[in-house]
Symmetry: C2
Subunit: 459 residues, 2 copies
């Protein structure tokens, strides 16, 4: 019996798609790392089916790749030819909201936006949030430890998961569906699965931590004349605005490009940095006055040279539309978005060095910077005309060599997948990679779980 025969016998043909039945969507995530047809796509409906499927694949030494919403940017969910994809899409739904504890139990295939809406309906905020919310799935958010724009207040995905259930390569169901904030009972296996990009097992459900739903949000756009002042403003905002929920900086040329593309004008003259500050608020006039007083003081102190407070949801959206820069992707097709972390004080030094190094090699490149400064996370937007594979690799190498020099991280939120795999040693030591291999072997001795992802191949 082949592995496919065994899978069909155990799970039925409805769950095991092969050949023509495999849709185009299972071929690739949102990265540009190449497409290939999996040997089969499994669509289990429950944890027991995931367990059966993995036990069979493990017996056959059959590599598998877990798939969620396929919105990843690092190739982590792409099948190699011959891999079997396991899609969690049929395991979707919120199973429980515990309003006293402020937790929700969610199946891994649930789209993030669905989970967010269920939380809101129950009067809570699910603080995990990112642009792909409509398509990405909770299981993928956990596997990649998704970041996003609300990290400054409520942390990354890792900080918002209380418990999870995962299936190991041999089919063992590991149920750690803890609902408590504090739980010191042995190793934190949960944190090991979060961010491991499907190389240690498949996450099937989880318990997420919910937060109070803010009644309102206050948003300001600030013009700032130096990076030192950006950092001072951040520290001041963290001290004074207890509900600070976003602190997003744009370097001048990123801001200009996107504001012009959107045909929006905000300030009379250009400044080197533009920052969006957002605060969760209770909707009272008092809260608004407080926010205004804070901004007035930063102006008096010389931290900001100009500031606009959104007077409506629409104005706040206009600020954010510049930051999100969707038109940039359209105007510069094939735009590369590098995602790195650096100590907060050094983001601008890195930006200067990175721009210089990229221009030295690609004088006609577009290079601009924006990022979640409060989270030490810088995004670098790079575009060159008709890049070759080799050009793309060179851009990565230039940027990541600098990241290594600054002792930064080559991936702040996108993960490693295949795209950054061979640069992992720029941010992690050989000893660390060695321990990752030991853990991988301990949990997946036959090496069937998403092989070729995250951990560099042995040379």
């Amino acid at each position: 019996m082949t592995v496919i025969d065994d899978l069909i016998e155990a799970l039925g043909t409805e769950t095991v798609l092969t050949g023509e039945a495999i849709g185009e969507r299972y071929r690739s995530d949102a990265s540009t790392t190449g497409k290939s047809l999996p040997l089969a796509v499994l669509r289990p409906s429950n944890t027991e089916q995931v367990s059966l499927a993995l036990a069979i694949c493990d017996r056959h030494r059959q590599p598998v790749v877990p798939q969620g919403g396929l919105t990843g940017l690092a190739g982590g969910a792409n099948a190699r030819g011959g891999d079997i994809a396991i899609s969690l899409e049929r395991m979707s739904g919120v199973e429980d909201v515990d309003t006293a504890a402020g937790t929700m139990t969610v199946l891994a295939g649930t789209p993030l936006e669905v989970a967010q809406l269920v939380a809101e309906t129950a009067g809570f905020l699910l603080p995990i949030d990112l642009g792909a919310r409509g398509s990405c799935q909770i299981g993928g958010n956990l596997s990649t430890n998704a970041g996003g724009i609300r990290v400054i207040r409520h942390g990354v995905t890792r900080d918002n998961v209380l418990g999870l259930e995962a299936v190991l390569a041999d089919g063992t169901v590991l149920s750690s569906l803890n609902r408590m904030v504090k739980n010191n009972t042995g190793y934190d296996l949960r944190q090991l699965f979060i961010g491991s990009e499907g190389t240690l097992g498949i996450i099937t459900r989880c318990v997420l931590r919910l937060r109070p739903l803010p009644a309102a949000r206050l948003t300001a756009l600030c013009a700032i004349d130096s990076y030192t002042h950006v950092v001072s403003l951040l520290k001041s905002a963290q001290r004074e605005l207890a509900g600070l929920s976003a602190f997003e900086a744009m370097w001048e040329n990123y801001f200009r490009f996107n504001a012009e593309a959107l045909n929006l004008t905000f300030f009379d003259k250009a400044t080197p940095f533009i920052v969006i500050i957002e605060q969760d608020a209770n909707g009272s006039d008092e809260d608004k006055e407080r926010f205004e007083t804070f901004l007035g003081k930063t102006f008096e102190d010389g931290l900001v040279t100009d500031a606009l407070i959104a007077q409506s949801e629409k104005e706040a959206r206009a600020f954010w539309s510049v930051r999100e820069g969707h038109l940039m992707d359209q105007l510069l097709p094939g735009l590369i978005n590098l995602d790195v972390s650096l100590p907060i004080g050094q983001l601008d030094d890195f930006a200067g060095d990175c721009e210089k190094a990229l221009f030295a090699r690609f004088p006609a490149a577009h290079v601009s910077f924006f990022g979640h400064v409060g989270d030490s996370n810088l995004h670098v937007a790079v575009w060159i005309e008709s890049p070759s594979e080799h050009d793309l690799h060179e851009i990565d190498a230039i940027a990541y060599d600098l990241v290594r020099k600054y002792k930064g991280s080559i991936s702040a939120e996108h993960g490693i997948g295949t795209l950054k795999r061979d640069f992992l040693d720029h941010s992690r030591s050989q000893a660390e990679i060695g321990v990752m291999r030991r853990i991988k072997t301990a949990l997946d001795p036959n090496g069937i779980m998403n092989p070729g992802k995250v951990i560099p191949l042995r040379s």
Copy 2:
């Protein structure tokens, strides 16, 4: 050559204490799990010495037990006869404070209070805080994932560690001294060491996350007539008070016992629950008014029946002195403090069941409850006259059997050590314990790292 000979040759006699030279303090942590003299006590001065020591012990298959400030309550740092203790006490000091990033790099043997003071001097709050702050050490705080009273705002220790350096059993130095909030580059090895109680390696230094230092704190003591109202008040405080930094509940008899012991009176009549609410504030009158308005509204809404706002630091200290209950330990010598987690909505149901079960077996027992309700953490104070070893075991068994029934955690913050080791399966499944064993073996194949702690022995 014996292991001691090898260690002395490599590290010198100043670092290797044996026989008479071993002080009384190295014999036991603050638990009541028995004392024994280690074969030797090593006092390395740097990571290289820790690495040398472990490599030698590993070669000799010599069990070791890491020791910090020895304030633990679960026996995790106690040597068995024949174990070699490795004390981190000489590796003390704050190496760096990065004020732009808001991080500090600290050696593992640094007393928590020293690290807190260095942070404060630099204008920051180190949010890890617990009663033993004067004696406990940062390395121990990480190894046990310490909790404490500031968890509701800034999380447990796990949430405040950005990076760490650890030495594995074979002497490999694993340096993950990350300084960034976001870092998605492979497995989160940091989280594996945090809370593993020295069974996977020895933490030697770490990068901690700092927060803005609040200018002031506002404190209130609230009388509440039902547990439902306690939970409603918690949710309301989390929604309205962005800087909520403590929410501590006392059940009536715990409050009464300690208030009487301290000769303090706060309210005209007794209520079933008394809660301390604390909020970080900026010291303005506006902030104080806001806090008063919030409490006024909870009174109008019927959530609290009475409330006192501390008008001075001294009054706030008086509220906290009741909660801390130091006199209780003196008046009831040998008082047992059980430390469990349960879903927030069920803390009082558990308390009722637990009290009933304990009284059924020990009719003359003192049983009272208090806890970090916002963190799902309940402490049970139990005292019986002249308990035998068997009585103590029965008390544990009664409480932890109920914790299992409620799907709670047998250790919210104290850890497992030896004291709770044989109850670990009350909170973790056999599959989870199996995976812990696999990881333990992968990182410490000769089983020299703190053997007999955390993971149940194979039967």
